[in-house]
């Protein structure tokens, strides 16, 4: 109960912060807030899947595509209000997640990564195979406006930032609760030792599929939000780069930690923008200026992993402990670092997960 109250309090504080920021900052920054919130939603789902249940997915971009296309199609053909559409998108991607989860239940490590990567590559190509439904490479346009009660002069990007942040925060609170519940404990047990988990009565197959369903649902909602902020749903937005960015964000933020999902999203969205600002302000030629952010982003990924093996959240916790505020526990600290020794009776395993043949 106390953790629920604390999570709700933290979410409320962030919500107030977002509202203040979105009013103070300009339209472009509002768009970034929305973008960050979308990544938070998707990465939070992935960090639960990969960090808690131990299943790697390089295909969550595909679930985002499903959510985005569902949103575009429902808005276009049925014209439902957005929150109803969001629910539809979540349900559709949950079903997709269940199908993928069942198919993937026997796969581990790189085999799962390979299968989900191919899913992420293959699924967007459906839009070219059925251009009549999905609009081919041009994609589908999405019409989204501010609700009437805000008056005609309310900036659309500010409203979008609010909607996206609200969804992200609700998702975070729900996932935080879930990961502290029996479901979350089962996932951790399963991640640390599948056989031991099965022996203690965890339904391994069901837990693994459930993790996929939840992760896909989050990605689907993120896709729905992406559809309304970009106002266009096209296959070009859902390349493997997106799926890889999601996993990258989850790991450099701190795998299995929900605050890590926030750090990871901040890095993914802000590092390239910041590097572009620096590059263009130094008057470099366009080819150089447009590629420096890419290279800088690569360097940041490598450095974060070398300096903070537990991700940014691991670094934050280390800093807090150093300052002697270790009593101020962040939510879901019980993750990669803490859960491993406690979750199983088995002694610490060597690192090579696939064993030595």
């Amino acid at each position: 109960m106390r953790s629920l109250a604390r999570n709700l309090g933290a979410a409320l504080a962030v919500a107030v912060l977002v509202v203040i920021l979105s009013i103070k900052l300009n339209t472009f920054r509002d768009y970034q807030i929305a973008e960050i919130a979308i990544y938070v939603t998707a990465i939070a789902g992935l960090t639960v899947l990969t960090g808690l249940s131990g299943q790697v997915s390089l295909g969550n971009g595909a679930f985002m595509a499903i959510g985005a296309y569902t949103t575009a199609l429902v808005l276009m053909h049925l014209g439902w209000p957005f929150f109803a559409v969001l629910v539809v998108a979540a349900v559709v991607t949950a079903i997709a997640g269940a199908i993928v989860g069942v198919a993937a239940a026997r796969l581990h490590g790189p085999y799962l990564a390979g299968a989900t990567l191919m899913l992420g590559v293959a699924l967007p190509s459906l839009s070219s195979v059925y251009p009549g439904v999905f609009g081919g490479d041009q994609g589908l346009n999405v019409v989204y406006t501010t609700p009437g009660f805000l008056g005609p002069n309310f900036p659309l990007t500010r409203w979008q930032a609010w909607v996206c942040s609200a969804v992200a925060l609700v998702t975070l609170v729900l996932l935080a609760n879930l990961s502290r519940s029996r479901v979350g404990r089962n996932w951790r047990a399963l991640r640390d030792d599948e056989v031991a988990a099965a022996l203690t009565g965890v339904n391994v197959a069901r837990a693994r599929v459930l993790a996929f369903v939840i992760s896909a649902t989050c990605a689907g909602m993120a896709g729905a939000l992406l559809a309304i902020i970009t106002e266009l749903v096209a296959p070009g937005a859902f390349t493997i780069t997106l799926s890889i960015a999601l996993l990258t964000g989850a790991v450099i933020g701190g795998l299995g930690t929900l605050p890590g999902a926030i750090w990871g999203s901040l890095v993914i969205v802000l590092v390239p923008v910041y590097a572009t600002d620096v590059a263009t302000s130094h008057g470099l030629s366009t080819t150089v200026a447009s590629n420096i952010p890419v290279a800088a982003y690569g360097v940041v990924l490598i450095l974060v992993m070398l300096i903070f093996p537990q991700g940014i959240q691991g670094g934050v916790q280390w800093l807090l402990r150093l300052l002697g505020i270790s009593g101020a526990r962040l939510p879901h600290e019980a993750s990669t670092a803490d859960a491993r020794p406690s979750a199983g009776e088995t002694p610490a395993r060597p690192h090579e997960k696939e064993g030595t043949q």
Binding site: L117, T287, A296, M305, H351
Partner: protein, 292 residues
């Protein structure tokens, strides 16, 4: 029927390139238990170096040799500088480092060479060969592609089987702890594995670039299909990687030829799903117990 034969033959040529990438991934997987996502980007980078050399010397073969040498250096340097510190850390860390390297290399290639597509020369004529009057759908260069990957693969296989260095590498891949106890410098073996893998990747880059053009992202798709081939074959099996690569190349080329290029990724997904449903660790996985 002629069409089918043409698709099959040119599929083998493409499949050999997937096989080279798959094999390089297998080499690294066996040594370090990690999938190197930068494999394609490293190959792209060494191919740019080759293009530079060819431009300045006018000799294709100088570029070819320099590309392979650059691959060896790049692979070894990568392992020593950024990969080694991540081993023994949470296992996805090293994967993210390779993703970081992928992004970095593509960014650097963009800075140095820009984003435009560059054509890359071939070693031999790329006009189609004919049997009598029927075109075979492959050129002399395609034959060279298949032959050079096959030759490299066989050389590597022979090296692994018949040399003491190869024995050390197999021992290190089989059981690192025992290998270390019997006096093998496992760390050095891993570095050599990375160097050889990057050399194979460089070979694939030089061979595929005439047909895909060369640009910072040009190896992305090749990497995805190479990875798929390695997964189909089983990441522990070099033979599986080659067979998986050729199988994927042929099936995708036939499917793409008859049904259009849009479906190739879907077909690849289909093959992957079917194979992994039946054998969750690839066709050539040895039946082994998961940790108990």
């Amino acid at each position: 029927m002629v069409e089918f034969l043409q698709f099959t033959l040119s599929g083998i040529s493409f499949g050999m390139i997937y096989a080279a990438i798959a094999l390089s991934l297998v080499l690294i997987w066996r040594g370090t238990r990690l999938v190197n996502f930068a494999q394609g980007a490293m190959a792209m980078f060494t191919t740019f170096i080759a293009l530079e050399v060819i431009y300045h010397t006018g000799s294709y073969w100088a570029g070819f040799v320099v590309a392979l040498a650059a691959g060896i250096v790049l692979g070894a340097v990568t392992e020593l500088t950024v990969i080694r510190p991540t081993l023994g850390k949470p296992e996805l860390n090293s994967v993210i480092v390779t993703i970081g390297l992928l992004v970095l290399l593509e960014g650097l290639a963009g800075i140095f060479y820009g984003g435009q597509f560059r054509s890359f020369p071939t070693a031999f004529s790329d006009t189609g060969l004919k049997a009598g009057s029927t075109p075979l759908g492959v050129s002399r260069f395609d034959v060279f592609v298949a032959a050079s990957v096959l030759a490299t693969t066989l050389l590597l296989a022979a090296g692994f089987r018949y040399t003491s260095a190869g024995l050390r590498m197999r021992a290190a891949a089989f059981n690192a702890t025992v290998a270390r106890l019997s006096g093998i410098r496992v760390a050095r073996v891993i570095t050599v594995g990375w160097a050889l893998a990057a050399m194979l990747g460089a070979l694939a880059g030089v061979l595929v670039s005439p047909s895909t053009f060369l640009y910072p992202n040009s190896m992305d798709n090749i990497f995805v299909f190479g990875f798929t081939a390695a997964v189909i074959g089983g990441l522990d099996s070099p033979v599986g990687a080659v067979i998986g690569g050729v199988l994927l190349g042929v099936v995708l080329n036939i499917a793409g030829g008859y049904l259009g290029a849009d479906v190739t990724a879907l077909i690849a997904l289909g093959i992957l799903v079917v194979v992994l449903m039946i054998r969750p660790a690839g066709i050539f996985s040895s039946a082994r117990m998961r940790r108990v």
